[in-house]
């Protein structure tokens, strides 16, 4: 099949969940299909500044067409547009303006879809909240497959988001919760869809990197990723501070990731900032549990990576995706308030055999659903199904 994959940023040096998801799937589909990635020249997702050269290039077997962004994002206009779009009296024009100001504004990419979209048998679009998806899907609606990467926030609940979802010929979802979330926005039944999550390779041998040189000694709980209030880190630190104050033997909390908020130091807190692969691997191998406090996730790759190393998880039950994953895998515990948070940490510390069992169950879940051959088989069958349906119609 001749396929196009539309994504706002693309490259081996791009750090972003949906961008990485698109690249991994594009590469694997390219083993059997003619795959072209349609993307922008932007590297930075805040400014959309053009940094890559426009034009055609190859990324392994994948053809990459880069289109320039017409204007950088104005944070002031974006803020105004957000206020207007989420206001009580918001109009369709307000909501459409939000997508314009969110960007990236790439008229040349849209022109390509308009002129050449029909030359692709299917066009896959990643991340519904970006302009090239919102304005691009209608141009090739009958062959558009949307990978929404939606979270339960106010943007997904905007009426214009529902109208975008109505136009897609099919969906690839990361979790059943995301599928339900998108379906709930529609009056009509959802177009054909599948749930695939993301593919993971078998884990490398356990890392032997010595963490004591970093001041880390077991037992410790691990938070891995951007340290940000939007990731639930303020609540995590408040809960852990209270937990530490109530215990005589206090385990460490290790934060491994770039920090985007002020953090007060504490004797039980170890801040590592961005870590390299070897340290990351050692942390995932040696931690007592991975803590994922975020309320908003569309998949949580870090949760799967932890399970890939048999690490049990403690997740925020307010996030339906995290709660659903932990229930399906039986790979950890969830909390709704401080008491449950504290008891979960204490329980895993006091019952290492149960912690190991939960970690093993998480690993078994990843083996069953998230290995690349399984993920790709599901995607291939789904693409064939949608293409056949489009031919018939």
């Amino acid at each position: 099949m001749k396929l196009a994959c539309v994504v706002h940023r693309y490259g081996s040096d791009i750090a972003g969940g949906s961008e990485a998801h698109c690249r991994q799937i594009a590469h694997r589909l390219a083993a059997h299909h003619d795959v072209t990635v349609l993307t922008t020249c932007a590297r930075d997702h805040v400014t959309w500044r053009n940094e890559y050269a426009a034009g055609e290039s190859m990324d392994g077997r994948v053809r990459v067409l880069r289109f320039p962004v017409a204007r950088e994002r104005s944070l002031m206009r974006f803020r105004d547009a957000t206020d207007a779009a989420l206001a009580r009296e918001a109009t369709d024009a307000d909501e459409e303006q939000w997508f314009r100001e969110n960007g990236p504004d790439t008229p040349a990419l849209l022109a390509h879809l308009q002129q050449s979209g029909q030359s692709y048998e299917l066009v896959l679009f990643w991340a519904f909240r970006y302009a090239e998806v919102f304005f691009g899907v209608p141009l090739v609606a009958s062959r558009a497959i949307l990978v929404p990467t939606a979270e339960d926030d106010r943007i997904v609940r905007m009426p214009l988001s529902a109208r975008l979802f109505e136009q897609a010929a099919g969906f690839i979802f990361l979790t059943p919760e995301e599928q339900t979330l998108v379906a709930r926005q529609l009056d009509e039944p959802l177009a054909p869809s599948c749930v695939v999550g993301a593919g993971l390779d078998a884990p490398p041998p356990p890392s032997t990197t010595d963490l004591t040189s970093l001041g880390i000694k077991p037992p410790f709980f691990l938070y891995l990723g951007r340290v940000d209030p939007n990731k639930g880190c303020e609540g995590l630190l408040r809960h852990f501070a209270r937990f530490a104050a109530e215990r005589s033997h206090v385990p460490q909390l290790v934060l491994a990731g770039p920090e985007n908020m002020p953090i007060a130091d504490a004797p039980w807190l170890k801040r590592l900032g961005f870590v390299d692969e070897a340290v990351r691997d050692a942390l995932l191998t040696q931690a007592t549990a991975l803590v994922v406090p975020s309320r908003y996730e569309s998949l949580s790759l870090v949760l799967l990576e932890g399970w890939n190393r048999r690490l049990p998880a403690i997740v925020n039950r307010a996030c339906e995706v995290l709660d659903g994953q932990v229930r399906r895998a039986d790979g950890g515990l969830s909390y709704a308030d401080y008491d449950e948070f504290a008891h979960s940490l204490g329980y895993l510390l006091d019952h290492p055999d149960v912690a190991r069992q939960l970690g093993q169950q998480g690993f078994d879940y990843v083996e069953r659903w998230y290995r690349w051959p399984t993920v790709l088989e599901t995607i291939e069958q789904f693409l064939q199904q949608v293409r056949h349906r489009a031919d018939v119609m």
Binding site: M76, D80, T82, D83, A84, L86, A87, R88, E89, L333, D339, E340, H343, S344, Y347
Partner: protein, 138 residues
């Protein structure tokens, strides 16, 4: 896991009683029933399926206005006024605005929880009345 849930429940019950909560909570069955009712209320609030907001004369009155929309009704000077509000006054007061916005969001959540609790109590009351009258399902 059920044993963690049971441990949390007992520890919380003990802590509340130590702080002077209602002596009725000494009865674990009563405590559990109250906790279940409040958790149902929280779940209903999160899924947005409450009856009480629908009974307000104007549904718009139920929600706090968390987002600021800058407008002017003046026909000629309107655009200038909007520009001054948006580009001069709002940036100068942004910190205060965001502080208020955060608190509006929290207040909205508290309002929703309280409405959900009231509705849950009304529902329980209705079911108990029905039981007391010995009605059978139609």
């Amino acid at each position: 896991m059920r044993e963690i849930g049971d441990d949390v429940r007992r520890a919380r019950q003990k802590r509340l009683l130590a702080r002077g909560a209602s002596s009725e909570y000494q009865d674990l069955a009563v405590y559990e029933r109250v906790e279940r009712a409040l958790n149902r209320a929280l779940a209903a609030r999160e899924s947005g399926v409450l009856l009480l907001p629908e009974l307000f004369e104007d549904a718009a009155d139920v929600r706090l206005t968390e987002q600021l929309r800058v407008t002017s009704h003046r026909p000629l000077l309107g655009p200038l006024i909007v520009f001054v509000k948006r580009r001069i006054i709002l940036p100068l007061t942004r910190t205060l605005f965001e502080y208020c916005q955060d608190n509006f969001r929290r207040q909205q959540q508290v309002n929703e929880v309280l409405m959900a609790c009231i509705e849950e109590l009304a529902l329980e009351n209705a079911l108990l009345e029905k039981q007391a009258r010995g009605e059978t399902r139609g």
